[in-house]
Symmetry: C2
Subunit: 242 residues, 2 copies
DNA sequence: AAGTGGTCTAGACCACCTG
DNA sequence: AGGTGGTCTAGACCACTTT
């Protein structure tokens, strides 16, 4: 559809298929601009997307390089900067859910604050155990305002995000996450079938849609033995200087 | 220095000081362009920086909004997308280090792979316990190629990143991190003065400088009782669609 | 229909790196 | 000195939201 996006996809494919090899210099911006018959600004926008993704980096006066990639064997490594527990992050994996609890009630105080809603707002509350390829991997406790979309057990069985995307035209575009380790609670250890007080990784999340509206407040507990997360960070000097 | 950066800083300050309040509409791009006497493209670049930082978001046809911010009480919350263990992430906090081990040797196999160096390359190896305001908080094990810069115990006592920045003109611009929970090893539990096998958060990191060169391979173990990390994620549809 | 942000252009000049 | 990426412009047109 958009030129810069087509170019982005094209170059991305060429990098991932090793047509442009890791650690090497890419062709110049002028070359690409002529190749794709676009202005240099449009081309730079495509490269900027690739840079934000960490696939390339540019050095003024020198050129644009393909970043050396590490171990992208994401066998048991889940990206920490994508939706968690979806097909986005688990390609070709079967995700199943067992519903432990499903109810609606009024929001508690910390839920009101995190979701930015009124005291009288009704919310859904549900708890699920999720498995990848029939292997237990997380225990989730989720709060979602009812005005977002009507839920039922069947929806919880499948992908909520997929349902929200198609039915409510709602997309997870931003999330505020808190990450820490703790001893598994009795509830979590039973659900995940691990010893009580064994170490688990916890991710608390407030999720926002494309309009900046908080639509989910959740706590996810992961079996430490098989759940490692990866995060590629790119720091520009702006972030650091202030 | 650069117009777009000045504008970025200016608007950012106005947002953080609540001159533009959370949840409200910002002035139009045309307004800002005239206000700062720049082209709309330059202005958009400034807004793009703010959007990447998660402070604002734009909706085509509607306008640009200030995002509602949450709980930025970063009392014991450390950003997961900034350098860890530095003054960047710990404002007005006194960071001290105790050196448990400091040596040089040849790189082991997994270190060679992660750092992208030859088999015969010498590396420094050191272990430190770090405290914030005299409170123990992390146990770090670090490998660094010797060709990066000469190290000694005095440097390790202070900030390595500061030393590398001034002496080697090297800056941490990218990092590949793996995050998980585990039971504290005997070594780590002693260093952090916690019970053996109590849960700890682990961050393994390969750090890259502005030229895309890996310069550090480290494993940091954090006391779970007082170390929570935060991460604000912004997903564009590009990342997700492919 | 009006207003807002998104895309795109052709071209100029600057900053930086490498010979 | 030459080449590369970075900044910046004035203006046109498109896509989307709102009234």
């Amino acid at each position: 559809m958009y030129k810069y996006h087509d170019i982005y996809s094209d170059i991305k494919r060429d990098i991932l298929t090793n047509h442009y090899r890791a650690g090497t210099l890419l062709p110049t911006q002028d070359f690409f601009a002529k190749k794709y018959d676009v202005s240099r600004i449009t081309l730079k926008k495509a490269l900027h997307l690739l840079e934000n993704e960490g696939l390339i980096f540019s050095k003024q006066g020198s050129g644009t390089y393909v970043r050396k990639r590490i171990n992208t064997d994401t066998s048991d490594l889940l990206p920490l900067d994508l939706p968690i527990g979806t097909t986005y992050s688990h390609r070709d994996q079967k995700i199943t859910s067992k519903i432990l609890h499903f109810d609606a009630r009024l929001a508690e105080k910390n839920e009101q604050e995190n979701l930015g809603i009124e005291a009288s707002s009704p919310v859904y509350e549900f708890k699920r155990v999720r498995s990848i390829n029939d292997q237990l991997y997380s225990y989730e406790h989720t709060i979602m305002p009812v005005y977002i979309a009507p839920l039922d057990k069947k929806i919880l069985q499948d992908s909520i995000y997929h349902y929200l995307g198609t039915e409510a035209k709602l997309q997870l575009t931003d999330a505020h996450r808190t990450i820490y380790a703790e001893e598994a609670s009795e509830e979590a250890s039973k659900a995940l079938e691990i010893a009580k007080a064994s170490p688990v990784l916890v991710i608390e999340q407030v999720a926002y849609d494309q309009k900046g509206r908080a639509f989910e407040f959740s706590k996810s507990v992961f079996k430490s033995s098989q759940s490692k997360f990866i995060l590629d960070v790119h720091m520009n000097s702006d972030r650091i200087s202030l």
